[in-house]
């Protein structure tokens, strides 16, 4: 296990460095590089610009700039966000918990919905309901996430008056009671989390259905059936436990990817997470923020898949010794 960890961590560092490099190259080729705004401001005199260039090392050869950049990244200095007027790290630190919260709730919702759908499908396997639910699953799997988010937004806000924009009421939050704060957060979370759940339940339903169907004919289920346990209980207690393992692999795939999947959802609902930062920095030409968010995204993917793999190995001893 230790060797596994070491290998994966090293690999992760390589990945992050790779992403940081790509991003560095792109930014220095981009028209609006981090200092262009100030550098090209005609009201700033040439001598001031020279001083700034020197201070930020922009007059050094690009190789040296690159090394400095990578060193900064690994040190945690990710630059200054023009649109947020504070260090990028600070803006990211505020946004990341929001995305994590949304992701977690979306996943939980997706699992709950997915497992329920799968159970219903298996109980009615082969019949119309099974196929209908399968079709519905497929439709939700194929739907573009931003389009679904827009549909949810249009249909539900006009009826149900859920607030959107921000994680909390910008004015009132500080003055609410703890219960009030909780309710406020839930109200803002509801629509984006619902959309995420709708997007993720198809994969889970599909896998769960498949694994349930696989497990059902197995020996010990037959034994339980012979003992007189009814089908519903069978499915719920016995089959589920065994079938949950593949679900964890889904988690391993879904968790790292969820950060990118939330990009469009956050934009539509103005949920102030990483995805929203990324999208708003596009229109705001805030390249330091954009690149830092992408690098953080890569770190997240690496960590997420590492955790997922580790968890999988822990749970299934058969895999522990495999390369």
């Amino acid at each position: 296990m230790a060797a596994f960890f070491v290998r994966r961590v090293l690999q992760g560092i390589v990945v992050v460095a790779l992403v940081a490099t790509i991003v560095f190259l792109l930014i220095h080729a981009a028209p609006g590089d981090p200092f262009a705004a100030a550098m090209e401001d005609p009201s700033i005199t040439e001598s001031v610009r020279q001083t700034w260039r020197h201070a930020y090392g922009l007059d050094r050869p690009i190789g040296e700039q690159y090394l400095r950049y990578v060193a900064n990244v690994f040190r945690g200095d990710l630059g200054f966000s023009i649109s947020r007027q504070r260090p990028v790290v600070s803006a990211l630190a505020d946004a990341l918990p929001n995305t994590l919260l949304l992701m977690t709730l979306g996943l939980i919702g997706g699992f709950a919905l997915g497992i329920s759908v799968a159970v219903v499908q298996v109980r009615h396997r082969g019949k119309a309901l099974d196929r209908i639910l399968g079709g519905v699953s497929l439709a939700f799997f194929a739907v573009p996430d931003f389009w679904l988010a827009l549909l949810v937004l249009v249909s539900l806000t006009s009826w149900l008056h859920f607030p959107i924009g921000g994680a909390v009421d910008p004015v009132m939050y500080d003055f609410l009671t703890p219960w009030g704060r909780f309710v406020d957060r839930v109200r803002h979370l509801f629509l984006p989390a619902l959309t995420l759940s709708l997007l993720y339940f198809p994969i889970i339903a599909r896998h769960q259905r498949a694994s349930l169907m696989e497990v059902l004919p197995s020996e010990y289920i037959t034994t339980a059936r012979a003992k007189g346990v009814d089908e519903r209980t069978l499915i719920r207690h016995h089959a589920m436990r065994n079938a949950l393992l593949p679900v964890i692999t889904i988690l391993g795939v879904a968790f790292p990817a969820l950060l990118t999947g939330a990009v469009f959802i956050e934009k539509v609902f103005s949920w102030p997470g990483m995805g929203f930062l990324i999208v708003s920095s596009i229109q705001g030409r805030d390249y330091p923020l954009l690149t830092a968010a992408v690098i953080l995204g890569a770190v997240f993917v690496v960590v997420g898949s590492l955790l997922a793999d580790a968890l999988y190995r822990l749970l299934d001893p058969r895999l522990r010794d495999e390369r």
């Binding site: 705004a37 090209e40 401001d41 005609p42 009201s43 700033i44 005199t45 001031v48 023009i82 649109s83 947020r84 007027q85 504070r86 937004l153 806000t157 008056h161 859920f162 607030p163 959107i164 924009g165 921000g166 009421d169 910008p170 004015v171 009132m172 003055f175 103005s270 708003s280 229109q283 705001g284 030409r285 805030d286």
Partner: protein, 568 residues
């Protein structure tokens, strides 16, 4: 305050029927009376205003966005404030602020202000005449690059005979000399800014955290989220009725509208045409319609974006600009984007100014004429790709739009297509407000769909279209320069009768229309949505926020956020 409700016809497509008989003058007449303090109104309440983007700075001399102006007018004071009648001639239309009273010298070349001894900065330091001198220096110092320095060109100097007396000296007499000097300057604290000059101003603490003498105090600014102001309870003029004013930032219009509908915001200062019907249905909202004193346009950059001393590869050519103007069906474009909520703009002015003659000769829409002119100028599509070329230069350019204005984004798509029909290729570049403002400031554009919210005096064109505004820190982003235009504007501002002024402005406007440094698009009306419980007063057409300190929320109608105790 005469409130104009918007009625709508019930069928789709949604159309708003507006009572057009309410003219600018009628509104003005009805909008008076905002000056008398209402001592009987119990204080309290929080007003939440939703805007489309962060201001670039909160320091008035270098701020250009409307949001910055709103906050600046609430936090800072002028020596005197123009009344709701917006009379810019002489000083009779002005009310005392930091100056209790003023006296003219016999030759009218100077005016002496007696400062209100009770006036204090929000940090407790008394306001003194040295602050006035300091403010004048800050605005007029060319190193600071204030776009408003142009308006102070007629001021010779400002002196302070004693700590409570300030005298403004003029180079020459003119009808608007008082307005120019007094309306331009928001008085700033000398003891806070000290010797800061030049680019360092933008990063000075006062740029992010203003300290003024106005009836509202600055509390905090969370970038991209909100700016909070609180009542200055010890203000030398009576404290405002409201406890707090919060400006929330929602660059996405859907979010802004949802916040309004959900009760998280109280007002939106510009509702897109498509949403008016829906908001009118909402019984908790009032929709207010005013002539907004705004106009927008396609502004060509007459200089090369990379090398400002060179002419633009396309737009340095007057004939090309005129030909492109002929290609646009402006009336249809404006109607598509605004429904009936905007007029077609005439020039760098608004119909509300009495000095504007709406019958000026325009470059009339004619696609055929545009095509013929382009042909005759030598622009030919030699390789049949739909885009004309001349001497190796393609008739292709970028058009930048701020995403916060749905109407401008919609117009951009229509403009792109209409230019395509005459062989010009347009690439639309959408950015949010701070990036857009930055682009304009740096003159790094080919063409933008820009807009101005005009001031009470038509003399504002000096900054936005005059040669003096074309310098690198000015607001004449397209670098249009025409001395004949400048001369006519100056003559107009020096004229003593309305007829004379009108005639000179007409000549000036005709010159600029003929030169076509911009294609004048729309003069949108201002459609605001305000929560019912807010009692608005004194909605000045040029600055609806001017009298926010007099707005109130009756105790019986307060909601949760009004009742928050402001311990700050």
């Amino acid at each position: 305050m005469d409130v104009e409700k918007v009625r709508r016809q019930l069928v789709a497509p949604v159309r708003i029927f507006i009572v057009r008989s309410v003219t600018f003058v009628a509104l003005l007449a009805a909008c008076s009376g905002g000056e008398s303090p209402r001592s009987d109104t119990p204080t309290g309440g929080t007003l939440v205003i939703s805007v489309g983007g962060d201001p670039e700075t909160l320091l008035p001399p270098i701020a250009t966005t409307t949001t910055a102006q709103i906050i600046g007018d609430l936090v800072y004071d002028r020596l005197a404030e123009i009344g709701d009648s917006l009379n810019t001639v002489g000083d009779s239309g002005f009310h005392p602020r930091l100056a209790e009273a003023w006296e003219w010298a016999a030759d009218s070349l100077s005016v002496t202000f007696r400062m209100n001894p009770r006036a204090r900065w929000h940090d407790g330091v008394p306001v003194r005449s040295s602050d006035v001198v300091f403010t004048y220096r800050l605005y007029s110092d060319s190193l600071n690059g204030s776009p408003y320095a142009v308006a102070l060109a007629d001021v010779d100097s400002v002196t302070a005979p004693d700590s409570l007396t300030a005298t403004i000296w003029f180079r020459e007499r003119s009808p608007m000399q008082f307005y120019d000097a007094v309306n331009t300057m928001s008085i700033l604290p000398a003891h806070v800014l000290g010797n800061v000059r030049g680019p360092a101003l933008r990063s000075s603490p006062l740029s992010r955290a203003p300290i003024g003498s106005g009836r509202f105090r600055f509390v905090k600014w969370s970038a991209a989220q909100s700016i909070e102001l609180a009542a200055d309870t010890a203000n030398y003029r009576r404290r405002p009725n409201l406890d707090r004013v919060i400006i929330t930032i929602a660059p996405d219009m859907n979010t802004a509208l949802a916040r309004l509908a959900g009760g998280e915001a109280d007002m939106l200062e510009q509702i897109p045409a498509a949403s008016v019907a829906n908001i009118a249905k909402d019984t908790s909202m009032r929709v207010l319609l005013t002539n907004g004193l705004d106009y927008n346009f396609i502004q060509f950059n007459l200089s090369d974006p990379g090398f400002p001393s060179r002419a633009h590869r396309l737009f340095g050519d007057r004939e090309l600009r005129r030909a492109l103007t002929l290609a646009l069906d402006r009336a249809s474009i404006v109607q598509n984007a605004y429904d009936s909520l905007a007029d077609v703009a005439i020039g760098p002015t608004v119909r509300a100014y009495p000095t504007t003659d709406p019958s000026l000769r325009q470059l009339a829409f004619s696609r055929d004429a545009a095509i013929r002119t382009l042909d005759s100028l030598g622009w030919k599509d030699s390789n049949n790709d739909g885009v004309r070329e001349r001497n190796g230069v393609r008739l292709e350019f970028s058009l930048s739009v701020p995403t916060s204005s749905k109407a401008r984004v919609a117009m951009a798509e229509l403009i792109q297509e209409q230019f395509r029909r005459v062989g010009a290729k347009v690439n639309i570049d959408a950015l949010d407000i701070p990036a857009f403002v930055d682009l304009q400031n740096r003159r790094r554009f080919d063409a933008v769909i820009g807009g101005w919210h005009v001031e009470p005096s038509p003399g504002g064109v000096r900054q936005t279209w005059g040669s003096r505004g074309a310098q690198t820190s000015g607001s004449n982003y397209g670098s249009y320069r025409n001395s004949a235009f400048d001369a006519q504007v100056d003559s107009a501002l020096a004229a003593n009768t309305l007829e004379e002024r009108r005639s000179h402005f007409s000549r000036a406007y005709q010159i600029i229309i003929d030169d076509a440094p911009a294609i004048w698009l729309a003069e949108p009306k201002r459609v605001m949505a305000v929560h019912k419980r807010i009692r608005t007063v004194g909605l000045r057409p040029d600055a609806w926020w001017a009298n926010i300190a007099e707005w109130s929320i009756p105790a019986s109608e307060r909601i949760a956020r009004d009742r928050i105790a402001t311990g700050r």
